[in-house]
C-alpha cells in the first residue's frame, strides 16, 4: 500500500484535488446522494492518506458533488456485495472504521463543507471534522431508527461537540424531522452558513487559506491535544495538553512566527516532519 506522497491516484467515487495549499476530498457519487459503497470505503482511506502525506497540502476540505453531502451506507449496492458488507459490519462492531479523517488519524486541519443533505452515516464526517461550514440549503437528518437501525457512533461524536438535546432529538425523530443549516449554526454544530449555496466552495477555500497561513507543526500538535482531550477527564487532558505545548518549544516555527509578524510578512513555516507511524496509520 505504500505510495509516495506525490503519486496521484485515480478514484472512481471521489474527486481528490489541490487548489494551492488546500487539498479537496469530494464525494463523487451524486446519483446516489454520495452514499458509500465498497469502492468508496477503500478510496476514502487512500484519499485521506494521500492528502495527509502530501507536503503541499496544509488544510483539507471535505465536500460533495450534487445535491447531497453524504447519505451514509449505500445499502442497495452493499446488499449485492456480501463480502464488503461483512467487512464494514466487522469494522463497525470493532470501532475500527476508516471513513473519516479522525478514523484515519489525519492531523492536518479538516473543514467539512456541507453542500446539501447530510444523512445517517454522513454525520460521521461532520462529527469528525475540526471546522464545519454549510450552504444555507444543507440539512442534517439521522434516519437510522426509521429503518430499524441503531444510531450510536456518529451521534456519540456529535453529543461531545454540541448541545446534546438536539442530537438526541434528531436520532430519535429519524426521517420525520431534520435540523437545518441555520439552526445548526445557532447550536454551534457549525460556524458558518453560506448563502447563496453556490458560494460554498469559494468560502471553504477562503477559510482553508486563512488556516493554511498558520504553522503546520503547531496545528498538528494542537489538533492531537484537542481531540485527545475528548477521551479523558479535564485534569488529565490538561496535563497531556501542557506536555504537548512544551513539546514544540524550540521548534523553528516559534522563532519564525514572531519574526514574520514583526516584519509584517508571511511566515515561512517548516514542512511537517513525517509522523512515526506504521504504514497503515491505524487507529487500533
Amino acid at each position: 500500500m505504500a505510495r509516495s506522497a506525490t503519486q496521484r491516484v485515480t478514484y472512481q467515487t471521489l474527486d481528490v484535488e489541490r487548489r494551492g495549499r488546500v487539498g479537496w476530498l469530494v464525494f463523487d457519487r451524486p446519483e446516489v446522494g454520495n452514499a458509500m459503497d465498497a469502492t468508496m470505503f477503500t478510496e476514502l482511506e487512500d484519499a485521506w492518506r494521500e492528502l495527509d502525506r502530501d507536503p503541499e497540502v496544509r488544510v483539507i476540505v471535505n465536500t460533495g458533488n450534487g445535491p447531497a453531502f453524504q447519505t451514509g451506507l449505500d445499502v442497495a449496492q452493499l446488499s449485492k456485495d456480501k463480502e464488503a458488507l461483512r467487512e464494514q459490519s466487522r469494522r463497525t462492531r470493532d470501532a475500527t472504521l476508516r471513513l473519516t479523517a479522525w478514523h484515519n488519524e489525519v492531523w492536518k486541519p479538516v473543514i467539512a463543507a456541507v453542500n446539501g443533505t447530510c444523512a445517517g452515516g454522513g454525520l460521521h464526517f461532520v462529527a469528525d471534522a475540526d471546522v464545519v461550514i454549510a450552504s444555507s440549503n444543507a440539512v442534517f437528518v439521522d434516519p437510522h431508527v426509521s429503518l430499524g437501525q441503531v444510531s450510536a457512533y456518529e451521534t456519540i461524536g456529535l453529543i461531545r461537540k454540541s448541545p446534546m438535546e438536539p442530537i438526541v432529538r434528531m436520532a430519535l425523530a429519524g426521517v420525520h424531522e431534520h435540523i437545518d443549516a441555520s439552526r445548526a449554526r445557532q447550536l454551534g454544530i457549525l460556524s458558518q452558513v453560506v448563502d447563496p449555496p453556490e458560494r460554498l466552495r469559494d468560502e471553504a477555500q477562503l477559510l482553508a487559506e486563512k488556516i493554511a497561513r498558520n504553522s503546520p507543526a503547531a496545528m498538528r500538535v494542537t489538533k492531537q491535544a484537542l481531540w485527545g482531550a475528548l477521551d479523558v477527564g479535564l485534569t488529565d487532558a490538561c496535563r497531556a495538553g501542557a506536555r504537548a505545548v512544551a513539546s514544540l518549544w524550540g521548534h523553528p516555527d516559534q522563532e519564525e512566527g514572531p519574526r514574520a509578524f514583526a516584519h509584517k510578512r508571511e511566515p515561512e513555516w517548516q514542512p511537517l516532519e513525517p509522523l512515526d507511524v506504521d504504514d497503515e496509520g491505524a487507529r487500533a
Binding site: 445557532q186 503547531a218 484537542l226 516559534q254
Partner: protein
C-alpha cells in the same frame, strides 16, 4: 482583611465582592513572570477573606488579557523555557481553578481576550463581556501550540467553535454577540462602560446564596468534568449529602418563609 501590595494586579473588595483586576494596561494585560506569581497570591488572598463571597476578575484598559508577555519572553534570553518545568508537571497557579478557589468566580471580559487570556474564560464559573469585547487565539499563527485553555473551553461550549478559533489563529475574531449565542458567555453588557456595574450587581446576587451550598455545588460541577456521567453523578451525590444537617439548610427555608435575607454561616475551612 488588608491585601498585600501588587504591581501588576489590583485586588480590592466592594461589599461581598472581591475584585481581581489585571493591571498592565500598557501591555494589554499580558502576563509577565511577575504577574504570574502575583495571580497565585491574589486568588489565595481573596479565597481566604471571609468577607468575600464572590470574586470578579476583569482588566484595566482596552484588553482583558492577552496571554504570555511575548516581549518579556523575547527580550531576556530565557524565553518560554522558564515555564517548561511547571508546564511539563502541569504545576500552574494563575487561575482560580489552578488555585482550587471554591468561591464563585465571575470573569468580566472588558475588551480583547487573546491566546492565553482564554485560561480565565475556561476556568471561571460565569463569564460576562462588554459588547465590544473580542476573542481570538493567535497561538498557531506564531508557531505555538494551543492546548490547556482550549481543552477547558471545549468541555464547556460547542467544540467546533473552539477548534475554529484554534486553527484560524489571528486571522479571525469572535464577537461578544456570537460568544453569547454559543454559550461561552451568559451576558453581553451594552454600553461597555456598564461592565463593572453589571458584574458587581451579578456578584451581589450570587453572594445572597449559601456559601457552603455554593462551594459543594462548585466542587460537584467541576468534578463532573473529570468523569463519565454515572461516576460524576455518584460523586455529586456525595457533595449533596455532605451538606445535609448544615445550619444553612434550616436558615434558608426559614428566611424565605419570613421574607427576610438569610443569615448564612461563614465558610469554615474545607
Amino acid at each position: 482583611m488588608i491585601y498585600p501590595e501588587f504591581e501588576s494586579l489590583k485586588v480590592e473588595r466592594r461589599g461581598p465582592v472581591g475584585w481581581l483586576i489585571n493591571n498592565r494596561p500598557e501591555r494589554l494585560n499580558a502576563m509577565s513572570a511577575g504577574m504570574r506569581d502575583e495571580f497565585a497570591l491574589a486568588w489565595t488572598e481573596l479565597d481566604r477573606d471571609p468577607d468575600v463571597g464572590v470574586i470578579v476578575h476583569t482588566g484595566e484598559g482596552r484588553a482583558f488579557q492577552t496571554g504570555v508577555d511575548v516581549t518579556e519572553i523575547a527580550s531576556d534570553g530565557v524565553g518560554m523555557e522558564r515555564y517548561r518545568r511547571s508546564l511539563e508537571d502541569f504545576d500552574l497557579h494563575f487561575t482560580s481553578w489552578h488555585q482550587q478557589v471554591w468561591k464563585p468566580v465571575i470573569t468580566a471580559v472588558n475588551g480583547v481576550c487573546a491566546g492565553g487570556g482564554f485560561h480565565w474564560i475556561a476556568d471561571a464559573d460565569i463569564v460576562i463581556a462588554a459588547s465590544d469585547a473580542e476573542f481570538f487565539d493567535p497561538h498557531v499563527s506564531i508557531g505555538q501550540v494551543v492546548a490547556i485553555e482550549a481543552i477547558g473551553l471545549l468541555r464547556k461550549m460547542p467544540v467546533e467553535a473552539v477548534m475554529r478559533m484554534a486553527f484560524v489563529g489571528r486571522h479571525e475574531r469572535l464577537s461578544a454577540h456570537r460568544a453569547y449565542e454559543l454559550g461561552m458567555i451568559s451576558q453581553v453588557v451594552d454600553p461597555p462602560e456598564q461592565l463593572r456595574e453589571e458584574a458587581q450587581a451579578l456578584g451581589e446576587k450570587i453572594a445572597r446564596n449559601s456559601p457552603a451550598a455554593m462551594r459543594a455545588t462548585k466542587r460537584a460541577l467541576w468534578g463532573a468534568l473529570e468523569l463519565g456521567l454515572t461516576d460524576a453523578c455518584r460523586a455529586g451525590a456525595g457533595e449533596l449529602v455532605s451538606m445535609w444537617g448544615h445550619p444553612d439548610q434550616e436558615e434558608g427555608p426559614r428566611a424565605f418563609a419570613e421574607k427576610r435575607e438569610p443569615q448564612w454561616r461563614a465558610l469554615t475551612e474545607p
